[in-house]
């Protein structure tokens, strides 16, 4: 098991494996997001109160849910960096921070647009769900700037790892904010398997597909940027030199 763990941390191994898997992942991402988009635009029934405005929520819910995965992901990578000093973990964590900031931004933007129509406001400072999400956005920008502020790669990796672990607390707050306090934001919807009832399959299938699609997109983006990072940091390694020589 430890041998497998050590192998997983090898940038070369990751680079070669991802070369094989990447095309399939890209095809799957395009297919799933495409299907979800068409479904949401053509077949999703209007909500009895909001009408077609509810279609924004397909994107909002999928991106918001996925954006909560970044801090746990970075915390796991950070723990591996701090304890086992695995190079690959830090490369993944570095790129996850910037990507997570984008996800948080899209969550805030789509939510704001929906809120302006349904609630009658773009933004409410008094709503704990909204503010804790904004906090996650700033925290992720903080991780990105912390890394670029420290020149020493090892020190930057350690500092960012710690901040990522601490940031996980905020994820719990975002998730439960709508249950612990009263807010303008609605709580998570229960999923009903019965067609023709509230929250029936006709409402959540498009969203479920979109969640899968967004997770696939996240994997593809993360793998692509990690591959770039590998080439940059390992540019003096023999296998990288050989590969580049072979491609010329």
């Amino acid at each position: 098991m430890w041998l497998w763990f050590a192998k997983l941390g090898s940038p070369k191994w990751f680079y070669e494996l991802s070369t094989k898997w990447l095309p399939w992942l890209v095809v799957a991402t395009v297919l799933v997001i495409g299907t979800a988009t068409v479904w949401a635009l053509l077949f999703l029934p209007p909500d009895y109160q909001q009408g077609y405005t509810s279609r924004i929520l397909v994107v909002h819910v999928a991106v918001a849910g996925t954006s909560l995965a970044f801090f746990p992901l970075m915390a796991v990578a950070g723990t591996i960096t701090l304890v086992w000093k695995m190079k690959l973990a830090d490369m993944v964590a570095k790129n996850a921070a910037a990507l997570g900031a984008w996800f948080s931004f899209i969550t805030l933007a789509t939510g704001s647009i929906w809120g302006s129509v349904s609630w009658g406001t773009w933004w409410e400072w008094s709503d704990s769900r909204l503010v804790s999400m904004l906090f996650q956005f700033f925290l992720l920008l903080g991780v990105v700037s912390l890394r670029s502020a420290l020149e020493d790669t090892d020190k930057a990796a350690k500092a960012c790892a710690l901040l990522s672990i601490v940031g996980c607390i905020n994820v719990v707050i975002i998730k439960y904010s709508v249950e612990w306090w009263n807010t303008l934001h609605q709580p998570a919807s229960p999923v009903s398997l019965q067609s023709g009832s509230a929250n029936g399959p006709e409402f959540w299938i498009a969203t479920a597909l979109m969640i899968l699609g967004v997770y696939l997109f996240l994997s593809v983006s993360l793998i692509l940027s990690t591959r770039n990072e590998i080439l940059q940091r390992e540019r003096r390694a023999l296998w990288v030199k050989e590969m580049i020589a072979a491609e010329r």
Binding site: Q50, W84, S118, N182, S197
Partner: protein, 157 residues
Amino acid sequence: MKPHRRKKLGIIIFITLGLSAAVGLTLYALKQNINMFFTPTQVAEGEVPDGQHFRIGGMVKDGSIAREEDSLSVNFVTTDFVSEVPIHYVGILPDLFREGQGIVAEGRVDSSGVFQASKVLAKHDENYMSPEVKAALDAAGTGAQGVMPSEGYKPSY
């Protein structure tokens, strides 16, 4: 696992648990400040200091909406099914505003006990359904109510 690694992992877990406890206690202490609004019952029980600017959250009582013919002025009553607070507002209401709908209003209570709102927001609940389903549920007499923005409320079906 090597001892120095075990020690590092222990420190990380200790820091995380310690910080979580600190944040948890802080949020617990600030609970009332983080809540977005007071319920009509809390207002009736005098939990809001006199003359203070605050938010109130409740349902729009059925049949209570009265609009003035020649202005944007509107009067309605908000309720949590225990207490009621009359609200007066001048302005454009959000799309989802209707009777039986959860709303959050911001303003202050005037000397005659009417809540003078400077802003009215509509809440949407966690239930989504098509107009056909809503009609079918209403016909069966089990239609979901609009959301009651208060703790512990569960739609009745």
